[in-house]
Symmetry: C2
Subunit: 263 residues, 2 copies
């Protein structure tokens, strides 16, 4: 039984995962941490990503949690094993549950993965998909421009977004990909743009996949109203706008800034 969990992300994009967890576990208490003072993690080295993820874990564990969810695709794909070894709490990433859902949708045997440079370089999705079915064709594509486009308010139907997405989706179009794993918290914001370019492809929202996996593990709940506490490591001028892009139901003024664990 889960009562209180932590959720962390390199920034505020993890709200797209938290929202799916809330839908399945409305009674759960949650503590969210977004490391906005050091975002983005997706272009950094594995050493730096793991170092920052340890800091994030240490902060969350102050709250006495039953489990921690790593909403960040970059941390999930590069640093999950060290976190699981080093911290005395179950740690769930977004990889395995998304791979399972994608594999189940891959009738013609082709799965696509999009993520940050570090996520794609890790090979974590390939390994998880091939563990489920060694004959899957896995096509991976780093999409480093999507996060800055989303964060700067460029809409998915803006010509700049359409041009960038068309390039990134081209390998999946050529390979007639059955399912595409949206392997970074920001990508659900551009889901409509990806779907227009790949009308036959099932889009896999990693937050939905993880929430469904946890429902099977722990059973969901239908009633109750859990509390969420939100923390970030800084608040810039564009903060309120970015929160609204990620989840319009979250009140930016309820999010507290906490920096004392950053050294």
């Amino acid at each position: 039984m889960l009562q209180r969990i932590g959720v962390f992300d390199s920034g505020i994009g993890g709200l797209t995962v938290l929202r799916e967890l809330r839908r399945v576990f409305p009674a759960l208490d949650m503590v969210y941490l977004g490391d906005l003072a050091r975002v983005p993690y997706g272009g950094r080295s594995v050493e730096t990503i793991t170092r920052y993820a340890r800091d994030d874990m240490r902060f969350l564990l102050r709250f006495g949690l039953d489990a921690v969810v790593v909403a960040c695709g970059t941390v999930s794909s590069n640093s999950l094993e060290p976190l699981r070894k080093e911290f005395p709490v179950p740690v769930y990433g977004v990889i395995d549950s998304a791979a399972r859902l994608a594999e189940a949708s891959a009738d013609a045997g082709a799965v696509g993965v999009i993520g940050t440079r570090a996520t794609v370089a890790s090979g974590a999705y390939e390994r998880a998909l091939h563990a489920l079915n060694p004959r899957l064709r896995v096509i991976s594509q780093a999409c480093p421009l999507i996060v800055p486009l989303v964060e700067n308010g460029v809409a998915p139907d803006d010509p700049v977004a359409e041009l960038v997405c068309a390039r990134y989706m081209e390998p999946f179009r050529r390979e007639r990909t059955d399912a595409l794993i949206l392997g970074c918290t920001h990508y659900p914001v551009y889901r409509s743009a990806f779907q227009r370019l790949l009308p036959q492809t099932r889009m896999i929202h990693v937050g939905e996949a993880l929430a469904e996996f946890l429902r099977e593990e722990f059973g969901g709940c239908t009633g109750g109203e859990g509390r969420t506490e939100y923390y970030v490591t800084e608040r810039s001028a564009a903060f309120d706008e970015t929160v609204r892009i990620m989840d319009q139901t979250v009140d930016p003024s309820s999010i507290r800034v906490e920096t004392d664990f950053l050294g």
Copy 2:
């Protein structure tokens, strides 16, 4: 007389400033620091920018320097005064010298400024320009997409770059801007794209302007061969490629990683 100076930037873009300093002061010894583990600074809060800049200064001052040059437009515009107060060494930013050169080129009285969100929000260029000439019309435009485009190898003549640059340059085209201050280390890489859109406008390279200002202050030198030591706070998979985009004459393997001051 300058013999040994420090140069720091939020990342590796400061090489575009260092190169101009080397041109004017070939005999100078220099120590460069790029805080790649926490780049970019340009979307962060003033508090975080100043905190990181203090760390960068403390690292550089281990080397016994005559002066420190802040190559980063975001730090120059938001944190120069605290750094000057707190550290016992002359600190030069890129604002005043660029403003001087722009004002001298503004025959019709209109100067444009492009920079990160934090640079534009600071109002530092407006203040510097209006101190020189209160009647100048100053048009400022944050260009947060240029840094990710440059860092991801999107060439200035790529259709995505052209579309983004055309939007950002539109206010300057309308106002027939005499001079445009390229207020971020990455922007010289896109100088040709800006110039195509604004053929009558003088492009102000902040590194060139600062190097000329320091030549007037200290006298340049014609001979000699100074050493440069390069440090960064991390080295990601894309590191070598990013160094090459900024300055093809720098050997990426000569750049050392130093993280112990990051806490």
